[in-house]
């Protein structure tokens, strides 16, 4: 078997085992909960193994390594063949590894977390299905296949957010997530068919004819219609899809509500993988975005706005998972910002780093809630550090990685790279300053959460009696904590191996680069900002303070501003008041239109028909019938007279007729 063939065998093997597991689990009886978890974990481990193989191959492949395998999905006729394809290159190979690895850890964690749920088999079925769709999304070499998987991960997200469907809030959150992301998906859909029309194909790479290759891109960037090139329009439409999936403003409203789902789902789907799919889409289609400066600017500004708004709102949240959700929104904004300002490698690295530490934080939050009786309010926790030491240690690492504590955490370096890219953006300094502000806020809200949850005294009965979680839950935490540190070695300015892998080229080890004049001032500045954020949090929430349980000291300091932030800037309420209400009323209007206007026209026609028939009826009876009756009377009188005249001659007549007929027949026969 050739090397390429083995590569594609491995590539196909990445999404297939979870898919097969999902199919098996779909038909598995609900009582077999343990075997179900085992099947899902084994399938995921296979996917991880295959991903590792593929990554090794990509790294060995060196500069600009890319392999594609295209095949026909269906054919319509002479004109239309619809192909799909698989692809592996340095953009998706690391993400594949991350998704299958985080997936595996979350699956293991779920065995403990969901083991007692009567529908655990269904849970693992959905989770495996999600994993398959997500991995399929990553290996797609066709926007169509990517879109198909994109929708399928959306379905998995819908099913898993609403997994506890008996809870009305969960069911509503699931629907909201599906509908809001679908608004974005329609943008993506339109962008896709537009791209199809312009390029005649949806394959990303196809030996020079793919949509991300120069021949097609040149054509897209050339023609202008309505003030923008096709490339701009298509890129913006794709970005609408990406923004919906990745919780960018103004589509972010679904993501915090999605926390109604079980915690492993929040960790895997709504923190590490699916929500990053939008970022991945932009990174995948980056050549197309590069063809349009306008589109990139939009991406940068939307990303910046999201990074800042998410961080602001996170400051005033009380639910442990909701804080993390807004943090995810904010971090996804960082990634988009990075893509917009021309730092796709930094975005990709932040995507990977964020996946590990955010999954860690969510699983940690699950462990915390699990330990103290499903409590979710951070203001009713406290002092958990002593009672859950392992969770505390892991959570601390995740928090420091997210907050950007210097040097020993991957999050620090990825954020650094993003700030660096933003600083170098020639178009505007705005996103850079916004990113700095968001960095400060991130350090603040994460320290706040940390202090409220793990330090000080217990502020509720449940928190006082908290216990450490079982080993099946803590083991993934430890591994994820390690992964929040380790990847840093491949992406510091001292050894930019990751950049070399994605961009091509050779990474040189040089510690001195850290002290280069374009690097160290920013490093120092962001360290100071993080320190300021942590210090401020310590000042407000220091463990020795004495406040009533359930009262946030920030409330007193921020006053009305705190309320606005706690209410999430009234975003949901605004939508309820405008979009949702408009939909409801236009629905009623359409129903009324049906009933009164269209239905009314039919009823009018029917009434007119009835009126005419009544008139005709009257005419018939009074006019025609009466005349007919008169005529008939006359006829009858005449008939009686005739009858009298011909009485007794009937027999004669019949006889004559009969004889005549027989004669005629004989005549005809003879002739």
């Amino acid at each position: 078997m050739t090397e390429t063939a083995t590569l594609f065998l491995a590539l196909a093997l990445i999404p297939l085992p979870p898919l097969a597991a999902a199919a098996v689990l779909l038909f598995m009886p609900g009582r077999l909960r343990r075997p179900a978890g085992a099947i899902a974990v084994v399938a995921q481990a296979l996917a991880l193994f295959a991903s590792g193989t593929v990554l090794v191959r990509v790294v060995a492949g060196g500069d600009g390594f890319r392999e594609v395998l295209n095949f026909t999905w269906f054919q319509l006729g002479a004109e239309t063949v619809v192909p799909l394809g698989l692809l592996v290159d340095a953009t998706n190979a690391p993400v594949l590894l991350m998704v299958s690895l985080v997936g595996l850890l979350v699956f293991i964690y779920s065995i403990a977390y969901m083991g007692g749920d009567p529908r655990a088999v269904r849970f693992f079925c959905f989770l495996s299905f999600f994993s398959a769709a997500m991995l399929g999304l990553l290996v797609a070499n066709s926007l169509l296949l990517l879109f198909i998987c994109w929708e399928l991960v959306g379905l998995a997200s819908y099913l898993l957010i609403g997994f506890w469907f008996q809870k009305p809030a969960a069911a509503r959150a699931a629907r909201k997530a599906f509908i809001v992301t679908r608004i974005g998906d329609l943008g993506l859909f339109l962008g896709m068919i537009w791209l199809y029309r312009e390029a005649g194909t949806l394959l990303f790479y196809d030996g020079g004819a793919g949509v991300l290759e120069t021949a097609v891109l040149g054509g897209l960037a050339a023609g202008a219609a309505g003030g923008m090139t096709a490339a701009t329009a298509i890129a913006l439409l794709l970005f609408i899809g990406a923004a919906g999936k990745s919780g960018q403003v103004p589509f972010h409203v679904w993501l915090p509500d999605a926390m109604e789902g079980p915690t492993p789902v929040s960790a895997l789907i709504h923190a590490a993988t699916m929500v990053a799919a939008g970022v991945f889409l932009v990174a995948r289609a980056y050549p197309l975005f590069e063809a349009s400066a306008t589109a990139l600017s939009v991406v940068a500004w939307v990303g910046a706005a999201t990074a800042l708004l998410g961080a602001c709102i996170a400051v005033a949240q009380r639910e442990i998972k909701r804080i993390l959700a807004y943090s995810t929104v904010s971090q996804l904004g960082f990634m988009m910002l990075s893509l917009g300002v021309g730092g796709p490698v930094a975005a990709l690295f932040h995507l990977l780093a964020h996946a590990f530490f955010k999954a860690l934080l969510f699983l940690g939050a699950g462990s915390v809630s699990h330990g103290c009786g499903e409590e979710k309010d951070v203001l009713r926790m406290g002092g958990l550090g002593r009672r859950m030491p392992l969770t505390f240690a892991c959570y601390g690492i995740g928090m420091m990685a997210l907050a950007g504590f210097p040097f020993f955490f991957s999050g620090f370096w990825s954020k650094e790279a993003i700030l660096h890219a933003a600083q170098a953006w020639p178009v505007s300094p705005g996103p850079f300053w916004i990113a700095l502000a968001a960095t400060f806020l991130t350090a603040f809200y994460m320290s706040r959460q940390m202090l409220l949850v793990f330090f000080g005294r217990a502020r509720s009965e449940a928190a006082a009696q908290a216990h450490e979680s079982p080993r099946l839950m803590t083991a993934p935490l430890v591994i994820l904590a390690a992964l929040s540190v380790l990847p840093l070695v491949v992406a510091t300015p001292a050894w930019p191996w990751f950049e070399a892998l994605v961009r091509g080229g050779e990474a040189q080890w040089a510690l001195s680069r850290l002290l280069a004049p374009e690097v160290w001032p920013l490093l120092a500045g962001s360290i100071l900002l993080v320190g300021a954020g942590v210090g401020l949090a310590w000042w407000i929430y220091h463990p020795g303070r004495r406040e009533a349980a359930g009262r946030d000291p920030l409330e007193d300091r921020l006053g009305a501003g705190h309320r606005v932030l706690a209410e999430e800037l009234y975003w949901d309420r605004t939508y309820d008041f405008t979009v949702v209400r408009a939909c409801r009323w236009s629905g009623r209007l359409a129903a009324a239109l049906d009933r009164w206007i269209w239905g009314g026209a039919v009823a009018l026609a029917a009434a007119l028909a009835r009126l005419f028939s009544a008139l005709a009826d009257r005419l018939d009876r009074r006019g025609l019938n009466h005349g007919f009756d008169l005529g008939c009377a006359g006829l009858r009188a005449g008939g009686i007279g005739l009858h009298r005249a011909h009485r007794g001659q009937l027999h004669f007549l019949l006889t004559t007729l009969g004889v005549g007929a027989v004669g005629l027949l004989l005549l005809l026969a003879w002739l």
Partner: protein, 501 residues
């Protein structure tokens, strides 16, 4: 002369005769036997259809009334075969889902078979007189089925259905009489060839230039009522809601396809100039069908009415594809690709909608049978807890209806939008909100009926029986199979469509 097509039409006719004479206790079995035999014949047609050659196959001609131009003339291209398959599937499906205790079973099943025969006749006839005979024949059993076995308000609904569609038919009949006067032919093929040669319009316009437009409007009205196109749709929600389960399934699955089939077979080939000239109003009607019906569906609370509006909405995408093809006649290569995709999409969507919508009506019937006739959106809640299999399978059907990739609904919509976007661009973008609204009102069903706490009264809500599952499981499986391997059906259109360039 291939006897296959006359056999396909004659089989359900024979069934209705046999049913009229058979003992009542055996009626259901006899009807099902005939229906499954019909499915076998349909499969035979699909397998025997030579996709490499394409065009009309299995042609059967036999003179009937030469003076009137009437001829038993049957033939099927990919579209015809596809619809025969749809009818073959839905026939046994609808009978299977009919509740067991039924007044007058012989008459019911005989009329159902007659309805099936009429629909098949429409899909296979190539002569207007015969075609129109079947077209009108469909009305009679449908009327009695709705009136006699329908819900509380079935009487008015049946009359409205009958009179409304009859009005459309009369308009169409007059239009065809005018066509016959002008050309001396009722033969769809001859008429299409005359149209392609550019002779049809001039010969129609002799005397009065407005005549061509009137003829077109007449044919359009007849077909539009049947589909239906907004605003000629007001008969539909009442009719679907009042009709008994099996009949709603056939109405939405098959009878709505008669109108679309007529548009593909008559409007597009015979009136290309007028389709192009009237593209703007036609596309507006398509958009109205997509958007207004989806919005109206949002305001409904009766499950059957939601599905009824959903049906208009989904067929609206077919109209969009059809009218886009009509709007963009011309030899340019890009247009040819667009037409090909849009037409294939329309056909795939017809099939997919036929299966999906019929399945959803079947599920509502299943729910209704368990709830003692309740089918309001707010009558239920949390049914997933009590009946996971029912809700799971119905959920798949709902997502197929939403157009989720991997299920059959996506392929048709993708091809229609892809094709139509290449032909009429911006119009297509206006239809996109429809896709969102579709998801909106269907997810509302999932939310209200399946989710939330299970009310006390439905604690013992039975899940699917083995008998129901035996039919519903393969049908839902078909949605998955077609969503993943659409080539299974699309291969029927490899060589294009009969009568269309």
């Amino acid at each position: 002369m291939d006897p296959l097509l006359p056999l396909i039409i004659a089989l359900p006719l024979l069934a209705s005769v046999v049913l009229a004479l058979a003992p009542a206790g055996l009626a259901r079995r006899i009807a099902l036997g005939f229906a499954f035999a019909g499915l076998a014949l349909a499969l035979a047609a699909v397998l025997r259809y030579d996709t490499a050659v394409g065009g009309l196959q299995f042609v059967f001609r036999y003179d009937w009334i030469p003076a009137l131009g009437a001829e038993w003339y049957f033939g099927a291209d990919g579209l015809g075969v596809l619809l025969v398959l749809l009818a073959g599937l839905l026939g046994p499906f609808a009978l299977w889902m009919t509740p067991p205790e039924l007044p007058l079973p012989r008459l019911f099943f005989a009329l159902m078979s007659l309805l099936q025969a009429a629909a098949l006749g429409v899909f296979l006839s190539l002569n207007f007189v015969v075609w129109f005979l079947f077209w009108e024949l469909a009305l009679i059993p449908a009327f009695f089925l709705i009136k006699l076995w329908g819900g509380d308000r079935a009487g008015p609904a049946a009359y409205q259905f009958f009179l409304y569609t009859m009005t459309g038919s009369i308009a169409m009949l007059l239009a065809f009489l005018a066509l016959f006067r002008a050309t001396g032919s009722f033969d769809f093929i001859d008429l299409a060839e005359a149209a392609r040669a550019g002779e049809l319009m001039p010969s129609l316009a002799v005397g009065a230039p407005v005549a061509a437009g009137l003829v077109f409007a007449g044919v359009f009205l007849g077909l539009a009522v049947k589909v239906p196109v907004v605003p000629f749709h007001t008969w539909l929600p009442d009719t679907y809601a009042e009709a008994p389960a099996g009949v709603s399934m056939i109405l939405t699955g098959l009878l709505s396809k008669m109108g679309l089939y007529g548009m593909l077979r008559i409007l597009l080939p015979l009136f290309p100039e007028l389709m192009q000239a009237w593209m703007a109003p036609l596309l507006v009607l398509a958009l109205a069908s997509i958007l207004l019906s989806a919005l109206a569906a949002l305001a409904q609370t009766d499950l059957k009415r939601i599905l009824a509006y959903s049906s208009i909405n989904h067929l609206g995408y077919c109209l969009l594809g059809l009218f886009a093809v009509g709007a963009a006649a011309g030899p340019a290569a890009g247009l040819a690709a667009g037409r090909e995709a849009a037409l294939a999409g329309v056909c795939f969507q017809m099939f997919s909608h036929g299966v999906t919508a019929a399945t959803l009506f079947a599920f509502v019937a299943v729910i209704e049978a368990r709830s003692g006739g309740l089918r309001g959106l707010h009558d239920f809640g949390g049914l997933r807890a009590a009946a996971p299999m029912l809700c799971g399978l119905m959920g798949v059907a709902l997502f197929a209806s939403i157009g989720l990739p991997g299920l059959s609904g996506f392929v048709g919509e993708f091809l229609i939008f892809k094709g139509a976007f290449g032909l009429v661009g911006g119009w297509v973008a206006l239809a996109l909100p429809g896709l969102l609204l579709t998801a909106g009102f269907l997810l509302r069903v999932l939310l209200r009926v399946f989710s939330g706490p299970l009310p006390e009264r439905w604690q013992a809500f039975p899940d699917l029986t083995r008998r129901e599952g035996l039919m519903l499981f393969p049908i839902v499986g078909l949605m998955v199979v077609l969503g993943c391997f659409p080539g299974l059906l699309l291969r029927l259109f490899h060589s294009g469509f009969a009568l269309l360039p």
